[in-house]
């Protein structure tokens, strides 16, 4: 077998061309092994010459043939390199050779492609599923309407025992049949959820849990609490329908205190932000939504308005809102003065307020501090001189939707569902919605008696004309870009607890729309309602709620899961189908009548029935006799491969049962078993057994009582008899021939006489006949079970000088006879061979059985040699 190696930039191709003079007499398809460069050996296993630095190979580099007229072989060339030669006589072989070579080259090119495909076919490292999902996204992405319900309530530290259902569901949440919709998100924003004292350091988790449970009880099992954000009395809870929960990602909460000393959490905001419907896998961006629950400083004075502006500026910095269409406040005001500077200008008042807040035992007292009577009076004298004239333009009938009505003072409560998008147009690249709700604490800058009159007339638009928040927004001082639905309800602050009557206490607080819900515009966002609920009387504030509908693309998780499942199944099918398809002709190899010491060759035939190339290898199990010539290879589609193994039959066995693994990589391991009987043999038998089988080992035992016993085994006699007439100087010094050796073993075991004519005819071929017999003779002696000179006489030989007699007495008779017979033969050999000591060493080794415990080896060897020399004479 010849091997050729070709080196490309990425791979090494080793080509094994089987010779046509195969021992089996068949011509096999030549085969090849393709290895990536990194692991390729530099020399082929058989040591064939490596093609020096072959240039990159392509499938177009085909083999050319050079016919040398003077030779019986033709030379094969590739890119002008000699790659081998084959006999001219065998044209079929040439065709096969060239064909196999071409398929090797094709496989080399395919190998590169296969590697690229393999990463695609491995779902764990590829994006096959992702890619397919995006292709099929239309089947699981649907435009859905998500309902968002927002509630804000300043609890005044009171425990609410009232049924929350009317507040949660309002006028728009439930369907006509009274069902809660599937895709809903509820936000509950509380202020002063607990009585606030100067020693309160953190939000009361008991209160929060009570609220969460109370709300969940109303919403039912299909809702879960998705997030909560809290800061002292401010609590923001987010409840999501389970079906929608998987659409909520990147949930973040934040909070910022702007109260006492500018940082305490008695005022400020808590925020929840998240992505709705974002799915990288499906390639949809989703909408970013932020909800901020604010509780700003109280008070009607201009300084209080300023303070709230400052709070907005702080919240803008500290609340981590997403980028949105608008701003919480306008940066440069009052001739370019920084808001903070402005704050410090009014620092006296604020410091005083802060001190009083720290001393205050209730929110009431804090509010009192902020709305100092003097300040209010001053404010009225300076700022409200024009009194409460309401511009004619705003005095409109509820049914008259005058186009001239400005968006920020929009009226006519009855059609609340319209959205104003004309104020700040949405910027296309901004994909977020911000909701602000809470007790923003903006007041109506008017007298209480006037408010009462307008409330009685339900002229809320007139009231709102004096609403500080509306005016701040109109001036674009705060909440720029925010919208608010039309207010069709009376001020939500301040009531006597347990009633729906405005504050009748001494302080007689001026009623105000302190509790508000605002939002930034978004193309598919619509407000359905904006309402208060007068029957809630536990707090001094009424709750305010609003419902929005957002149409957006959402992934249908169930549908997508189905598709993923199907894709994975497809992938498995593809993977399993793309596995190599092979046929192995026989997995049970039967070897009847094996002979000891002979080498048995076996083959298994492998056919690639698939349409991808197959990589195979042979795995030999530890301790197995099996030897393999070529342990691995690549088989192109349609090709057949003969896999060859061999083993040498050991002595002293009657049966062989060996298994090796023929592995089709990525598909199947075939267990190939080789079984068969081993013919009896004198090789490995004891001398005693040999003499009991006078007709040869294969002919069975002679019954003990029948016939005279031989003095020496006939096998030994035959060898010595043959050799004694053919002693040369080289006897026992030359190797025999394997085939002749096998012949000799068969003669011995069959009880046949040596065929001298056959053996002597090999005399001119280096005396092969004689050397083969000599070699088998040595092997026979070496394998004698128990040895010719057994272990038990070893000590007598090496220790004493007791003489031959004692040794003979200790040995079986057949051993003594055999030894005497061999000694007389060696005497003949000694006459011819010059350096007899070398012969003696060979016989010492095969005749004497040495115990394992032996010491002082060189001295013992000397003793053994002396014994043998003395014996031979």
């Amino acid at each position: 077998m010849t091997s050729l190696v070709l080196s490309t930039s990425t791979h090494t191709l080793t080509f094994h061309a089987s010779s046509c003079a195969d021992p089996g007499g068949t011509i096999d398809t030549p085969f090849y092994i393709l290895e990536p460069k990194a692991t390729a050996a530099n020399v082929s296993p058989t040591g064939s010459p490596v093609l020096p630095a072959a240039t990159d190979l392509t499938v177009h580099d085909s083999i050319s043939i050079d016919e040398d007229m003077d030779s019986d072989r033709m030379t094969l060339k590739l890119q002008d390199h000699d790659i081998g030669s084959i006999p001219k006589s065998d044209v079929t072989y040439l065709a096969e050779f060239v064909l196999a070579w071409r398929s090797a080259l094709a496989a080399l090119e395919e190998q590169v492609q296969v590697n690229q495909i393999s990463s695609f076919e491995d779902p764990l490292s590829s994006d096959y599923v992702t890619t397919r999902l995006i292709q099929e996204r239309d089947s699981f992405i649907e435009e859905k309407t998500v309902q968002i319900r927002l509630i804000t309530w300043n609890l005044h530290g009171e425990v609410i025992g009232e049924d929350l259902r009317p507040l949660l569901f309002g006028s728009s949440v439930l369907s006509d049949s009274g069902e809660l919709q599937d895709l809903g998100i509820f936000f509950v924003a509380l202020q002063e959820a607990d009585p606030l004292t100067p020693t309160t350091l953190s939000a009361n988790q008991v209160t929060i849990a009570r609220w969460a449970n109370q709300v969940l009880e109303c919403l039912g099992e299909s809702y879960i609490l998705s997030a909560s954000s809290e800061l002292l009395g401010m609590v923001l809870l987010m409840f999501t329908h389970k079906k929608l929960a998987s659409q909520i990602t990147q949930l973040e909460i934040s909070s910022a205190g702007t109260g006492v000393l500018g940082y305490w959490g008695n005022k400020g905001a808590v925020c929840i932000r998240f992505m709705l419907g974002e799915s990288d896998l499906a390639g949809i961006a989703g909408v970013e939504i932020a909800v901020a629950n604010m509780h700003l400083s109280s008070g009607i004075a201009p300084q209080a308005v300023e303070r709230r502006r400052w709070e907005m500026s702080e919240l803008d910095k500290r609340l981590k809102l997403p980028v949105f269409n608008g701003k919480l406040f306008r940066k440069q005001r009052n001739g370019g003065k920084n808001r903070k500077e402005l704050l410090y200008q009014n620092g006296d008042l604020l410091d005083e307020l802060d001190e009083r807040v720290l001393d205050a035992s209730s929110e009431d007292d804090m509010v009192a501090a902020a709305t100092d009577a003097v300040e209010v009076k001053k404010f009225k004298e300076n700022g409200m001189a024009k009194e409460y004239e309401i511009p004619a333009i705003l005095i409109v009938d509820g049914s008259d939707k005058a186009a001239t009505i400005s968006t920020t003072t929009s009226t006519t409560a009855t059609t609340a569902a319209t959205i104003n998008t004309d104020h700040v147009g949405p910027e296309k690249d901004i994909n977020s919605i911000v909701f602000i709700l809470g007790d923003l604490n903006y007041r109506l800058a008017m007298d209480r008696s006037d408010i009462s009159q307008l409330v009685a007339k339900k002229d809320y638009d007139a009231l709102l004309f004096w609403d500080q928040l509306r005016n701040e927004m109109k001036e674009e001082s705060v909440l720029i870009g925010f919208q608010e639905g039309p207010i069709s309800f009376q001020p939500t602050y301040k009531y006597d607890i347990g009633t729906s009557v405005f504050d009748t206490s001494e302080k007689a607080r001026v009623p105000a729309f302190t509790d508000r819900i605002l939002y930034t515009t978004y193309p598919s966002l619509a407000q359905l309602d904006y309402e208060t609920f007068m029957h809630y009387i536990s707090s001094d504030h009424k709750p305010v709620a609003a419902t929005f509908e957002l149409r957006t693309m959402l992934v249908d998780a169930d549908k997508r899961a189905q598709i993923v499942k199907r894709l994975l199944h497809d992938l498995d099918a593809r993977e399993n189908e793309s596995r190599p398809k092979v046929e192995v002709e026989k997995t049970d190899l039967l070897c009847p009548d094996m002979t000891v010491l002979s080498t048995v060759h076996q083959t298994a035939k492998l056919k690639n029935c698939g349409n991808t190339q197959v990589a195979w290898e042979i795995e030999i199990i530890d301790g197995s006799l099996i030897q393999v010539g070529t342990p691995e290879g690549v088989l192109p589609p349609g090709a057949t491969q003969t896999v060859r193994v061999s083993f040498k039959v050991p002595p002293n066995v009657t049966h062989i049962s060996e298994i090796f693994i023929l592995r089709i990589i990525n598909r199947q391991d075939y267990f190939i078993s080789i079984t068969g009987n081993v013919l009896p043999s004198c090789f490995g038998a004891s001398l005693a057994d040999m003499i009991r089988k006078p007709s040869g080992a294969r002919h069975g035992f002679l019954a003990p009582q029948t016939g005279p016993q031989l003095n020496i085994p006939r096998e030994i006699w035959k060898c010595v008899d043959f050799l004694s007439t053919r002693i040369t100087r080289e006897i026992f010094r030359r190797p025999g021939d394997e085939t002749v050796g096998e012949l000799v073993r068969n003669w011995l075991d069959n009880g046949d006489d040596f065929d001298s004519i056959v053996l002597d005819s090999l005399a001119k071929d280096g005396n092969k006949g004689t050397h083969s017999v000599a070699e088998q003779f040595i092997q026979l002696l070496e394998l004698v079970n128990g040895g010719v000179i057994p272990e038990k006489v070893y000590d007598i030989i090496t220790q004493g000088n007791d003489g031959v007699q004692l040794i003979f007495e200790a040995m079986p008779r057949v051993n003594v006879n055999t030894l005497i017979y061999i000694a007389s033969f060696l005497r003949e050999v000694k006459r011819v061979v010059i350096d007899f000591d070398l012969i003696l060493e060979i016989f010492d080794k095969v005749l004497v059985r040495i115990p394992k415990t032996g010491k002082n080896k060189s001295r013992q060897k000397k003793k053994r040699m002396e014994f043998l020399k003395g014996f031979i004479g």
Binding site: I33, T39, L225, T249, Q250, D572, R667
Partner: protein, 228 residues
């Protein structure tokens, strides 16, 4: 407080798990695999001479498991080769035939061998196959009940040894998927072999996942690492 819902729309972790089938010859190991992988059944299947490799993914609520299935030959003469296949397996299906008492004895032998030789964390399922041949209580008058091993006997053995237990029919498909799903959900997270690196040529031509690690047979174990 209620638990906050984490974002389950993120890509699920995918993990590969090596599964080996063991059991007496002709109990239906290959048929179980064929049913699981292709939802198919073949009468009079040829005996498996060797070990066949197939893959199948299983989707659980929080992860996807890719089974790398080694279906081994049940014939006694190949028993000495089984350690090569179960040595690095994270899970094993020990299959017996409900109509053949000797097959349960063989199953016990495999369970003992797995406890002694395989990874200590291996998840083993005991599977009594050929449920279709059991005509309990003579439900169908025309067919005799060929059951020889009671459900109780199998279950008791499984409980003693801490095994998952199923009775299946590869022919009708009864409980087959359940076996694999139960195994998948029983695989501890840390045992799962997260696949790293780029797929491609390992060692020789296109070789890789299907290979059996022979190196670790001879002594040195790769310190709990998985070689598949």
């Amino acid at each position: 407080m209620s638990s906050l819902d984490s974002a389950p729309s993120a890509p699920k972790p995918t993990a590969s798990v090596k599964l080996v089938l063991l059991g007496e010859a002709a109990v239906g190991k290959s048929s179980l695999v064929l049913r699981f992988v292709s939802n198919d059944f073949q009468e009079n299947k040829e005996p498996t001479i060797g070990a066949a490799f197939l893959t199948q993914k299983c989707t659980l609520p929080n992860r996807t498991i890719k089974f790398e299935i080694w279906d081994t030959a049940g014939q006694e003469r190949f028993a000495s080769l089984a350690p090569m296949y179960y040595r690095n397996a994270q899970t094993a299906l020990v299959v017996y035939d409900l109509t053949k008492p000797t097959s349960l004895i063989k199953a016990r032998h495999w369970v003992n061998e797995l406890h002694a030789q395989a990874s200590p964390k291996i998840v083993i399922a005991l599977v009594g196959n050929k449920l279709d041949l059991c005509n309990e209580g003579g439900e169908n008058d025309e067919e005799e009940d060929r059951r020889k091993i009671s459900t109780e006997e199998g279950r008791k053995f499984a409980e003693e040894e801490g095994l998952l237990f199923f009775e299946t029919s590869a022919k009708t498909g009864a409980n087959v998927r359940d076996v694999f799903l139960a195994i998948a959900s029983k695989i501890p997270e840390e045992v799962v072999n997260k696949r790293g690196g780029v797929a491609g040529v390992k060692g020789r031509t296109g070789a890789g996942e299907g290979r059996v690690d022979l190196e670790s047979r001879s002594g040195e174990n790769n310190a709990g690492g998985c070689a598949c």
